[in-house]
């Protein structure tokens, strides 16, 4: 079986990986974000995963209205990106755990989760930004699962948590020993391309993280039954919390959550949390 040994959820704001944007950031805020990522990286290294399943979102760089899967698994041998130029994020190439990705897709199709798959999926800043802090050597194979969080209609928060829980079950059916990390990326509150762009809702962000850390994702799901309700408090960018809920859904009961950092940067609430083995 593949054991989920750690979970991490983190924002993927592109300014965290754009060198010139980093230079323009408030130094104290950035140092706290960097410390949060450093702590997450240390926990990840302690957990020694063989692969990282990443629930991330797309920004129309890979999917579009002509082909819009709710959950898309990358199953190629490697992936490169980000593919856009305007964010000025250095491009990287990462190995994929193709065998594990294909297993997830097959198990899904046989057991009620209709994953789409791609053998040639580029990376987005949604994967590259957090990985640049967590695995800066780019040496752990990944399985990206791209969740539609920007092009309505989108899978519900409830469905995202269910798919996360399903992925945990799939890991239990993996026929060999493997240590797996799960990463959810995106959010937190931000308004993208809208008149309110620049707004952040720190109250929502802290409530969301604390509620997730307490294992009460059902409360989040019950409160925000549709995308419009979530839009109003967290912005269209806040729809990316789907990836946090998917990661949380994948967590086995043996792992306990903690919030590592939260900073309301201008334009995006930056959060980092981790689920790790409870101390004996």
């Amino acid at each position: 079986m593949a054991e989920i040994v750690i979970g991490i959820a983190a924002s993927h704001a592109p300014n965290l990986a754009n060198p010139s944007m980093i230079r323009g950031m408030n130094e104290e805020q950035f140092s706290r974000i960097r410390a949060g990522f450093a702590q997450a990286r240390a926990l990840l290294e302690e957990a020694r995963p063989d692969a990282i399943v990443i629930f991330s979102s797309d920004h129309f760089d890979r999917c579009f209205f002509d082909n819009l899967p709710p959950f898309l698994v990358a199953v190629g041998d490697s992936a490169e990106g980000p593919i856009n130029e305007y964010l000025k994020i250095p491009k990287v190439k990462v190995s994929l755990d193709s065998e594990l990705g294909r297993f997830v897709v097959r198990e899904g199709l046989e057991n009620g989760v209709d994953f789409a798959s791609s053998a040639d999926l580029p990376l987005d800043h949604a994967e590259v930004v957090p990985l640049s802090y967590l695995t800066p050597n780019w040496d752990i194979p990944i399985v990206p699962i791209v969740v539609n969080a920007f092009a309505p209609p989108m899978p519900s928060l409830k469905r995202c948590a269910q798919v996360g829980a399903f992925v945990r079950e799939v890991m239990e059916r993996w026929p060999k020993q493997k240590r797996v990390a799960v990463l959810g990326t995106g959010g937190l509150s931000h308004w993208v391309g809208l008149p309110e762009m620049g707004r952040v809702n720190a109250e929502f962000d802290r409530w969301f993280m604390n509620t997730l850390a307490a294992g009460q994702q059902s409360e989040i799901i019950a409160r925000y039954k549709n995308a419009e309700e979530l839009d109003a408090v967290a912005g269209n960018g806040g729809q990316e919390v789907r990836d946090w809920l998917a990661a949380a859904g994948a967590m086995p009961p043996s792992l306990r959550a903690q919030v590592l950092a939260y900073e309301p940067l201008p334009g995006c609430g930056i959060g980092i949390m981790a689920w790790t083995q409870a101390e004996a």
Partner: protein, 84 residues
């Protein structure tokens, strides 16, 4: 009006620096590949983010294509917040 067609153009601008460049230098030729109505063509020609926003274009697409076209973000936000 086809929101899909104008969205497709914005997607292509965001993804492809060459298309973004050609939109600045030979827009009418680029637009031959997209079935836009007159209002959409004018909005793209003038890069009127407000007009495109009011047409219902996805805001993420609007922002990313604007960034690819070199639009200043403060000017972008100001345009969206102009009082009618």
């Amino acid at each position: 009006m086809s929101q899909y067609q104008v969205s497709r153009l914005l997607r292509d601008i965001a993804r492809d620096t060459e298309i973004a460049r050609r939109c600045r230098t030979e827009l009418s030729i680029v637009l031959n590949n997209y079935n836009l109505d007159d209002a959409e063509r004018d909005a793209v020609k003038n890069w009127s983010v407000r007009a495109l926003y009011d047409m219902g274009v996805n805001p993420l697409l609007l922002l990313t294509s604007s960034m690819a076209m070199g639009t200043d973000i403060r000017a972008y936000t100001a345009a969206l917040n102009e009082k009618r």
